[in-house]
Amino acid sequence: MPTRSGKPTGSDLSSVLEGLIKADIEFILVGGLAAVVQGAPVTTMDVDIVHKQSSENIAKLLGFLKSIDAFHRRPDDKVIRPKERDISGMGHALFTTRLGPLDVLAAVEEGRTYENLIEYTVEIEFRGHTVRVLNLKTLVELKRTSRDPKDRQRLPVLEETLRQLENG
């Protein structure tokens, strides 16, 4: 539960991931955690996903967000709960939840959506389930076009991980 000030009480990104899977949500894991599961030694504070934008999937995602007490992550203490329109448009919705931060993205760099990214994913076994993760090669390509200083800073580590993976 968030506190009165809107602060979360914990952070367990594996549980966020497990919750998304158990709620039967169709998503692709992207961002820092996608890099982590593929072997990049980086630390990330949130879960980033690109979700399938079907009405059924949006309903499931909204239900899951409510179940983990999600509210919009904002610089002030205002607690604003997620609504369907927040996750059915083309923007990014950044949430704080009782399990940890979860960023729900309609698209990533160059406007790439779930449908555009699905062929660039790898399936990873996690706690007896399968998770679709954006492959490291695509992650690196996207980060190369990113203007975010955090992405630029991480890029050499991601590139070295990819190099070692490709060289066996």
Binding site: A40, P156, E160, Q164
Partner: protein, 61 residues
């Protein structure tokens, strides 16, 4: 020191750390990240608390 310099020669990347992470399973990597995040939050909380404690006026007895 020489070892460390060699390991981080390319853009400051620790190649040994990359190799170590690649030996782990995806679940182990997630667990490592979770532990790191928990530690970071704990340290941030402790730092914040120290700052708050310093600002609080001392009660005279």
């Amino acid at each position: 020191m020489v070892k460390e310099t060699k390991a981080k020669e390319q853009f400051g990347v620790d190649k040994g750390l990359v190799a170590m992470f690649l030996k782990m399973s995806p679940e182990e990597r997630l667990r490592t990240n979770d532990n790191a995040v928990r530690t970071i939050l704990e340290l941030r909380h402790a730092y914040q608390k120290r700052k708050t404690d310093r600002l609080r006026p001392k009660l005279s007895t």
